[in-house]
C-alpha cells in the first residue's frame, strides 16, 4: 500500500515533503495512549492516515481520539467484509475473460483468499470508523480507525458512549453485516423490515437481481471523450 501512496496525485505535488508531521503526530498520539493495542498504521503524506487497533481497544481508541486528540467530530462507522464474493466477480470476470482473450491468455482464476486493504488485517470482518478534528480553520484532520472483529464472536465494543452519533451507524452495521456492538442502547433494524433475514452487505449475500440477469454493456461501452485513439480500434473489436 505504501507504494500506492507515492503514486497518488497529491503526494506527487507534495513530493518535497514526503513525511507528514501532522499525521505522524496523530499516529504517535494513538501509540502513546494505546501502546501495543495499535496493530498497524498507515500514513499517506498530505492525504490521509489509518490506524488499526486491536478489537478490545476499539472503544478506547475512540476515547483517545475524542478526549486526547480533540477529534470531536464523528464522521461515520461501518464494516468491511473482506471475503471475496463466492458468486464470482460477475462482470469483472466477463471482462477479464474478454481481455485475456484479446491478449491471448488464460483468464486468472478468481481470488479465494481474504485480501485486506490498507493496514492489513487477519479476520473476515473489520469495523472501521472515521473521526475528525474540526472547527479550527487551519487545523483540520481526520483519521480512519480500523479493528479486526473476531470471527467467532462477531462482537465489538459500541462507540455510542463516546460518540452519540454512532448509534444509527452501529444499527446499520448490525443489520447489514450481523456484527453485535456491546453496549449499544438498542440494536434494532434501521432500514430493513424487522422480520428481514440475512445481512445484505455481507459478500456472501447474493444480489439476486444481478445473479439472474447480468448487468449489460460492460465491454461495448460507448466511446468517452479523451479516450486514446490506439484504444478505439480495440473497442470496436
Amino acid at each position: 500500500m505504501t507504494d500506492d501512496a507515492t503514486t497518488d496525485t497529491a503526494a506527487e505535488a507534495d513530493e518535497a515533503a514526503p513525511t507528514d508531521e501532522l499525521r505522524e503526530g496523530i499516529v504517535e498520539g494513538f501509540r502513546e495512549r494505546l501502546g501495543d493495542a495499535v496493530v498497524d498504521t498507515e500514513v499517506q503524506p498530505g492525504l490521509d492516515v489509518w490506524v488499526r487497533v486491536r478489537a478490545d481497544a476499539w472503544r478506547e481508541a475512540a476515547e483517545v481520539a475524542r478526549h486526547h486528540l480533540d477529534a470531536r467530530y464523528f464522521t461515520f462507522l461501518s464494516v468491511l467484509d473482506w471475503l471475496p464474493s463466492p458468486f464470482g466477480r460477475s462482470m469483472d470476470a466477463a471482462v477479464d475473460v474478454e481481455l485475456a482473450r484479446r491478449a491471448g491468455e488464460e483468464a486468472a482464476a478468481p481470488a479465494t483468499e481474504l485480501a485486506h486493504g490498507v493496514t492489513g488485517g487477519s479476520t473476515r470482518f473489520q469495523v472501521f470508523a472515521r473521526v475528525a478534528k474540526v472547527g479550527h480553520p487551519n487545523d483540520f484532520w481526520g483519521v480512519t480507525l480500523k479493528a479486526d472483529v473476531p470471527d467467532d464472536t462477531l462482537t465489538v465494543d459500541s462507540w455510542v458512549p463516546v460518540y452519540a452519533g454512532a448509534d444509527w451507524h452501529e444499527r446499520e452495521a448490525w443489520e447489514m453485516f450481523g456484527l453485535t456492538f456491546v453496549g449499544h442502547p438498542g440494536l434494532r433494524h434501521i432500514y430493513l423490515p424487522s422480520d428481514f433475514e440475512g445481512h445484505p452487505l455481507r459478500k456472501d449475500f447474493p444480489l439476486l437481481a444481478r445473479q439472474v440477469k447480468p448487468w449489460p454493456g460492460i465491454v461495448d461501452v460507448e466511446p468517452m471523450p479523451g479516450s486514446g485513439d490506439e484504444e478505439e480500434g480495440e473497442a470496436d473489436a
Partner: protein, 390 residues
C-alpha cells in the same frame, strides 16, 4: 471549539427543564403520534413516532428505511463510471454534488488529476447544485411554517438554475456529468453570460426571501430558540455543513480540506452563526446561497482554457487501495470510502451521507418540544430522504 453563547446555554437549560416538567408535573396518559411515513413535513417517507403528552413530545424516534435502495450493495456490481448514475439519486436536489466526491476518490486511487478547466467547471456545478438545493430549502422552510408563497418564488427561481444545468449536462435533476479524469462536455457558447444573469436572479431571490420570510416577526418568533444544538452535541452526532456552522462551528470542507476543486483560488467566506437554533440554520443557508452566487461569478470570470478530460484508460480498472474523499455538499459532509481490489467494480463503497447523521440527532433534539416545533426543527435540519436512506 467555539464558545457556547449565553443564549445557547439558557435555551439548553430551558429545554432540559421542560424535559423534567414533562416527566414530573404533567403525568397524564400519553399519546403516540405517527408523523409519516406519508406526511407533508417529511419530504418523502420518513416516519417519526412521537410520544406526546398533550402537544409536548416526550420521546421521538425517527424510523427511516422506507426508501432504502441498497446503493452500497449495488455499487459492488457496477463499474466506476456507472456508479455516478446511482449516487445522483442520493441527494436528488443537488445531484451533481453527489458525483464529485466519488469521482475524486476514484481519481485519487488511480492517480489521475483532472485538468484545471474540468476542475473549475466541476466547482461551478458543485455550487450550482448547492443553489438548486438550498433555494428549495429557503422556500420550503416557509411552507413548513405556514407561509406558502415563498416556495413558489423558490420554484420559480430554481428553474433558472436548473435550466443552466440542463443546458450543459442535458439533465435537470440527475446530470450524471462527472467522469473519472474530467467531464463529459465543455460549456456551450454563451453559457457564462447567461449564468451571470441567473446568479443575479438568485441574489434577488435571496433578498426577496429575506424580506418576505426571514424578516417576518412571526417567522423569527417561530424559529428563534427552537431546536438549539450546542456545538459539542452537533459534533458528537456528526452534524455537518450548515447545521454545524449554525452551531458556531467554523468548519467548511471547501476551505479546510479542498481536494480536486477550485475553492482555494477564490475569494469567499465561510458563514457561521453562534445561536444554533432553527433561525441560525436558515440564516446560514441563506448566506450560503448568496456566497455560492459570488463563488460562481468568480469561477465564470476566471475559468481557464484547456482540455476537459485527462488521459484515462479505455477500460477503467482502479488500482487496489482505499480512499476516503468527502466534500462540502449542500446538505453537509458527503463522503465515499472506496475500497478497490484492482477490479472494474469497487470492492466496497461506504457512502457517508450528510442527512443520515443530521437526522440521527432528532431523538435528542425533539425531546420536550411542542408538535409545531417538530416541524420547524425537521425543516431547519433539512434532510433529503434519499440522503438518509441511500
Amino acid at each position: 471549539m467555539t464558545a457556547v453563547t449565553d443564549r445557547q446555554k439558557l435555551q439548553y437549560i430551558a429545554a432540559r427543564a421542560a424535559d423534567a416538567r414533562v416527566n414530573v408535573e404533567l403525568e397524564t396518559e400519553g399519546m403516540t403520534l405517527n408523523i409519516g411515513p406519508q406526511h407533508p413535513a417529511t419530504h418523502g417517507t420518513l416516519r417519526i413516532v412521537a410520544q406526546l403528552d398533550g402537544e409536548q413530545v416526550i420521546a421521538a424516534e425517527p424510523v427511516a428505511g422506507y426508501m432504502h435502495r441498497g446503493y452500497e450493495k449495488l455499487t459492488e456490481v457496477r463499474t466506476y463510471a456507472q456508479v455516478t448514475t446511482l449516487v445522483n439519486r442520493i441527494d436528488w436536489l443537488g445531484s451533481f454534488a453527489n458525483e464529485v466526491p466519488f469521482i475524486l476518490a476514484a481519481e485519487q486511487l488511480m492517480g489521475i488529476e483532472a485538468p484545471p478547466r474540468a476542475t473549475w467547471i466541476r466547482t461551478i456545478f458543485f455550487e450550482m447544485s448547492r443553489i438548486a438545493n438550498l433555494i428549495l430549502f429557503l422556500g420550503d422552510m416557509g411552507v413548513q411554517l405556514g407561509a406558502i408563497t415563498p416556495v413558489f418564488f423558490a420554484f420559480r427561481d430554481r428553474e433558472f438554475v436548473l435550466n443552466q444545468i440542463e443546458r450543459v449536462t442535458g439533465g435537470r435533476f440527475h446530470p450524471n456529468f462527472d467522469r473519472i479524469g474530467g467531464l463529459k462536455d465543455d460549456l456551450p457558447k454563451g453559457w457564462i453570460e447567461d449564468n451571470k444573469r441567473t446568479m443575479e436572479k438568485v441574489r434577488s431571490f435571496c433578498d426577496e426571501i429575506e424580506d418576505l420570510l426571514m424578516g417576518s416577526e412571526i417567522f423569527q418568533e417561530r424559529t428563534r430558540g427552537i431546536g438549539v444544538i450546542p456545538p459539542d452535541v452537533a459534533l458528537q452526532y456528526g452534524l455537518s455543513g450548515a447545521n454545524a456552522r449554525s452551531s458556531g462551528i467554523d468548519w467548511d470542507l471547501r476551505r479546510d480540506n479542498c481536494i480536486g476543486l477550485a475553492y482555494p483560488e477564490l475569494d469567499w467566506k465561510v458563514w457561521t452563526h453562534p445561536d444554533g437554533d432553527s433561525f441560525a440554520r436558515f440564516w446560514v443557508r441563506l448566506q450560503e446561497v448568496r456566497e455560492a452566487t459570488r463563488i460562481i461569478d468568480q469561477l465564470c470570470d476566471g475559468i481557464p482554457s484547456g482540455p476537459i478530460m485527462a488521459k484515462v484508460p479505455r477500460i477503467i480498472k482502479v488500482p487496489a487501495g482505499e480512499a476516503w474523499i468527502s466534500t462540502e455538499n449542500p446538505l453537509g459532509e458527503m463522503g465515499y470510502y472506496v475500497v478497490s481490489q484492482g477490479d472494474l467494480t469497487p470492492f466496497r463503497v461506504k457512502i457517508r451521507s450528510a442527512s443520515f447523521n443530521n437526522v440521527s440527532i432528532t431523538p435528542w433534539i425533539l425531546r420536550g418540544v411542542y408538535v409545531p416545533d417538530i416541524i420547524t426543527i425537521l425543516a431547519s435540519l433539512y434532510f433529503i430522504l434519499g440522503d438518509i436512506d441511500r
